[in-house]
Symmetry: C2
Subunit: 255 residues, 2 copies
């Protein structure tokens, strides 16, 4: 890859690893303001700004949230746990104040737009955190139990807990490395979609995947088997097969 | 904000503006590889890698895509137009090759997960591009007409065109500035959601919003009215009210 153009930003992006073990060092309010402020400057569909983020530091609340989604040390021991919330509640109030109605909030387009915009904002926040020497991990597991999350956080109608994120100073003893990804040719197409594009490289990818996990003390893994276990069975959804009901309960009918 | 910690990354993030006018300078394959490679290193839910991206440079194809979504010069004149595709087709083949079935692909959780992961990847790509002196804009408008997009790009079942992105060297004559966002206090909550948090600052925000657009030659605008027009009426959806059918046609039943 040495011939490709690069930058300090790209170097940092390419060095990304999910951090699940943290030192006890707190994340300050100033750090948090810098991180979330950076996220606010990222793109937002039609400037609708359809998200809020809740910063949780209280140990008992973190423990309750963690218990609700399967008990994870990277939630309870994170100096700060962020919950990224799809938030159309502000927009609903603005519309009603003008005598209007939230006439489109039941549509799946707005559920999807919220997901996209939260991906954009949350990734911006994580990279900002990484640029300050912090680290973190996305926690999709909060969608295992949206009802408990919504109650614990006091979410109103039109607010839905989309994804979590643990942030803190990385514990240097954790020792995870860079998880290999599919070769670029497997995901980048030209002019039209080519369904065979990833196939010639899959064997090479499986080798690097197995090698990565063997180095972490878990030999014999296969990406294809992991995918099949995660997406090929309802059990692999860890409760998320009822997501449509969960969305509906918070006003995201997704029709 | 001078007391907040910062970094070169955060400075770049805070300088983000959407670029819709480009010089004729091409975006090279090496630049594209650097940009998409950076995006691949970002977080992906359970390492499922559920996206592909299609790079379109052909002038006639760009013109057809642009015509399908309302004719935008920032699509036809972009040196490269990227279409970010939710791609479960690879995963489906991997599962079937092991004798399994894509038993969860009909669930809205996987539609939502694809949206989140594309937000993460696409934002990573845009920031990587900005770090190389390029600029760009997200084009959610491709969801105005997913059927034509899917046909033009030859998308199979389990592949859906989620969001577009124009990339190129910014035309310095465009002259857009930094669009103001809600104050940090309006979106960052502590411990629990506070529905009143944004209200004290909304008047100040409306002033900065009006000021920004007045500076662009469009005085008298209001964020509240923009939100009401965009989300308070079916017309504001520009065709996206049928998104659930469009998703279903590509295998994303979203149940």
């Amino acid at each position: 890859m040495s011939e490709l153009p690069t930058s300090a930003v790209i170097d940092l992006q390419r060095a990304h690893r999910s951090v699940r073990k943290f030192l006890d060092t707190p994340v300050t309010d100033a750090q948090l303001a810098a991180i979330i402020g950076a996220a606010q400057h990222a793109s937002t569909s039609s400037n609708l700004q359809v998200w809020s983020v809740i910063a949780i530091r209280d140990a008992e609340r973190k423990a309750r949230l963690s218990a609700a989604i399967g008990n994870h040390a990277y939630v309870t021991h994170a100096p700060v746990f962020l919950v990224w919330v799809a938030d159309l509640a502000r927009n609903a109030e603005l519309i009603k104040a003008q005598g209007g109605e939230p006439a489109t909030f039941h549509l799946i387009e707005n559920t999807l737009l919220s997901g996209l915009d939260i991906g954009i904002a949350a990734q911006s926040a994580l990279l900002a955190a990484e640029s300050l020497g912090l680290g973190g991990v996305f926690v999709g597991g909060i969608r295992n139990n949206p009802a408990v999350l919504s109650a614990e956080l006091g979410l109103p109608k039109y607010a839905f807990p989309m994804v979590g994120m643990s942030i803190g100073v990385p514990d240097p003893d954790e020792g995870t490395g860079l998880k290999p990804r599919l070769p670029l040719t497997g995901v980048l197409h030209h002019e039209q979609y080519d369904g065979d594009r990833w196939k010639p490289s899959i064997e090479q990818y499986e080798e690097s995947y197995e090698g990565y996990f063997a180095g972490q003390g878990h030999p014999g893994r296969s990406w294809a088997r992991t995918v099949a276990k995660r997406l090929g069975t309802i059990e692999g959804m860890h409760g998320r097969h009822t997501m449509r009901d969960s969305l509906r309960e918070q006003g995201f009918d997704s029709e």
